[in-house]
């Protein structure tokens, strides 16, 4: 946030300009600047690309869900990905959810329902850490909004597993990642070419899978973006007409006093 805020203030305080440039250059030495990707949901008229969402969900389900939960998503939410109620019901039923207590006072397992949250891979954070060398794989349903750089950052992380530069010490059990702060990340490179097979024939390269899963995670973090953009456009039209009308009225009323 520092950089973004600094930028806003700076637009006005020209005197400090050179200082920020110096400061962000210093920070850039740690991790390179994030390459900007094209996202269907960018910009004022942006919307989520449904095909990408479905592919992204597939990547999440087949790969990331081994370690990461999507805590804030319910099966019913997947209707936004154009799945039919029957598909969602069948998908939910393929997971086990804990319910109860029953009339014997026992908790029991049953197939999940569309109204259930999507279960994560681990019963609690401690179990997740124990299985990942002490590092907690964070909840992915908020991660795009919870990182500076948003989708570009998550995309960069997924593509950032490059060989460590000579002399860089990669901690035992960690992996070198160009874009992760400090470069030592506890996540093994999750994607490899052809790791999933897309039903629509899209070629499953690492950048393709990363792009799709980030689209899915962006939707998971901000499921109302489409509606927001749509309503926003109407509000803008309404307000622009309002500005015109009130400006004309103001001119007319004030004509007498000027």
């Amino acid at each position: 946030m520092g950089r973004k805020l600094a930028f806003g203030w700076l637009a006005a305080a020209a005197a400090a300009l050179s200082l920020t440039v110096a400061a962000s250059a210093a920070r850039a030495q740690e991790t390179p600047p994030l390459p900007h990707q094209q996202w269907s949901f960018d910009g004022v008229f942006g919307t989520y690309d449904i095909a990408a969402l479905q592919r992204g969900f597939q990547v999440y389900k087949q790969i990331c869900s081994a370690c990461h939960p999507v805590k804030h998503l319910f099966f019913r939410d997947l209707a936004a990905l154009d799945y039919t109620p029957d598909q969602i019901k069948a998908l939910a039923a393929s997971y086990k959810c804990t319910a109860g207590p029953n009339d014997q006072g026992q908790m029991y397992e049953r197939p999940c329902l569309p109204s259930d949250p999507i279960p994560g891979p681990f019963p609690n954070d401690e179990a997740a850490k124990a299985a990942n060398g002490g590092a907690l794989p964070p909840d992915l349903s908020m991660v795009v909004k919870a990182r500076e750089g948003g989708p570009d950052y998550v995309f960069a992380i997924l593509n950032g597993f490059v060989p460590a530069p000579a002399g860089f010490h990669v901690v035992q059990g960690k992996y070198y990642n160009e874009y992760f702060p400090g470069h030592n990340i506890s996540m093994p490179p999750p994607l490899s070419d052809g790791a999933v097979t897309f039903a629509d024939g899209t070629k499953a390269t690492v950048p393709q899978m990363a792009h799709d899963v980030v689209t899915f995670l962006s939707w998971a973090a901000e499921p109302n973006l489409d509606t927001r953009h749509r309503i926003g456009a109407r509000v803008f039209l309404f307000l622009i007409v309002g500005v015109g009308i009130f400006y004309a009225a103001k001119r007319k009323i004030w004509a007498a006093v000027h």
């Binding site: 520092g2 909004k145 309002g242 500005v243 009130f246 400006y247």
Partner: protein, 425 residues
């Protein structure tokens, strides 16, 4: 055959007015209320601030219907508002960005006052009430920011409440008292929520006093001279109602841009990570509207006369705000408007730059050049109010004031032509 009696509505209004002169009062304060004819668009920001206060209260009440103020549920309840409550995202984004808009408006409103000398006699109490509103807004926004219980909520609360530990002897006890425990936790969140709900209504009450004080002498104006008669004023309605409405719509475009197209631009991504007492974020930064105070706080890195740096920082930071209370007595110039003050006019803009620089300092980690800039800017802030304001009135030679508002703004209209230099804007 026309009925000559007044309509039923009019009769009802008369009946009420006879017993409770509400409509007479509104008529007096809005319709007959004389307003200088030459107010520029900087005078729109008062009504905009009032509008934003109402927006904050309305959106806040709707949020409160769904929000749960407990440490284990707060974060998730806000996410539920965002995802499952009908138009919950709209209400929350309107509230979160509304706070930013509210502060932007109020800061412009305050700088307007500083530029046109609106704090000078007889408007000192009006100004002081304004500063009290600002202090209450800061408290309200700070506690509101804690409510979503993200990482920045938690750590901002910890940093700011810990400031009170700088008070000698009883400091630590005060902090424990504020927290309701030995760390920021559930009791802290509960009390902040109660106060966050309460304070806006206290602000509303102070705003009413602010308006009563305003209507006693009416608005100041860009010339800074008093209204001397009918030719200087126009009724508030319809002239300023329509101008305020026009300004409001333009403002709403900006507000809507943030709410619909950049709702998280002014926020901090860390606040979408649930509060974690075991993990301190890399940079703890407050919201943009508190950055200058934060910069002053961190700029005092040395102790003076054995007073520890931390305490000095707290005093300097709070002092920068409370200093505004005595501005009417610090400024020794009898001339209100900067338009007639050749030196102060420039000094004013230096203060604006100074405050922006402080904002930049507050946003960046306190290392190297940032610290130096912060110290110079803090020093200059105090220099401006404590030295320059009292001194300038003594040494500056103001331009001659026009005879009246009408004389200055109506070209030849009232017999007396204004000097050309006064006619621009």
């Amino acid at each position: 055959m026309a009925d000559q009696r007044p309509g039923a509505g009019t009769r009802i209004i008369r009946w009420i007015d006879h017993r409770l002169p509400f409509f007479a009062m509104m008529n007096h304060e809005l319709y007959e209320y004389p307003t200088p004819r030459n107010l520029n668009y900087w005078w729109n920001f008062g009504s905009l601030a009032g509008f934003m206060l109402l927006v904050m209260i309305v959106t806040g009440i709707f949020l409160a219907m769904q929000y749960t103020p407990s440490a284990s549920l707060a974060f998730d309840s806000v996410e539920r508002i965002m995802r499952d409550v009908n138009y919950g995202w709209l209400i929350r984004y309107a509230h979160a960005n509304g706070a930013s808009m509210f502060f932007a408006i109020v800061y412009i409103h305050i700088f307007r006052g500083l530029y046109y000398g609106s704090y000078k006699a007889p408007r000192e109490l009006l100004w002081i009430l304004g500063v009290i509103i600002l202090v209450l807004m800061i408290a309200t926004a700070f506690m509101g920011y804690v409510l979503p219980w993200g990482q920045m909520s938690y750590w901002a609360a910890t940093v700011i409440t810990s400031l009170f530990s700088a008070i000698p002897v009883i400091g630590q006890s005060i902090v424990t008292f504020l927290w309701g425990g030995f760390t920021v936790g559930d009791p802290t969140l509960h009390r902040f929520y109660a106060l966050h709900y309460l304070l806006p209504f206290i602000i509303l009450a102070v705003v009413l006093l602010h308006l009563i004080a305003l209507h006693r002498f009416g608005s100041n104006n860009p010339l800074g001279i008093d209204m001397k008669g009918q030719q200087d004023s126009i009724p508030f309605h319809p002239y300023y109602t329509i101008k305020d409405l026009f300004g409001l719509t333009v403002f709403l475009l900006i507000y809507a841009f943030f709410v619909f197209y950049a709702p998280n631009f002014l926020g901090n991504p860390d606040n979408y990570i649930p509060a974690n007492p075991m993990q301190t974020p890399n940079h703890i930064v407050p919201e943009w509207y508190l950055l200058p105070y934060y910069a002053i706080l961190r700029s005092i890195t040395f102790s003076i006369f054995g007073i520890p740096a931390k305490l000095l920082g707290v005093l300097a930071s709070f002092g920068s705000l409370f200093l505004l209370l005595i501005v009417p007595w610090l400024d020794s110039s009898p001339v209100r408007s900067s338009r007639f003050r050749p030196i102060y006019k420039w000094v004013f803009w230096l203060l604006v730059i100074d405050v922006l620089a402080l904002g930049w300092v507050g946003a960046n980690p306190p290392q190297g050049i940032v610290v130096t800039v912060g110290q110079i800017a803090t020093f200059y802030y105090y220099l401006h109010f404590l030295i320059l304001l009292p001194l300038l009135g003594k040494i500056e030679r103001p331009h001659p004031l026009p005879a009246s508002i009408a004389a200055a703004v109506l070209p030849g209209g009232s017999g007396m032509a204004a000097p050309a230099s006064l006619r621009k804007s």
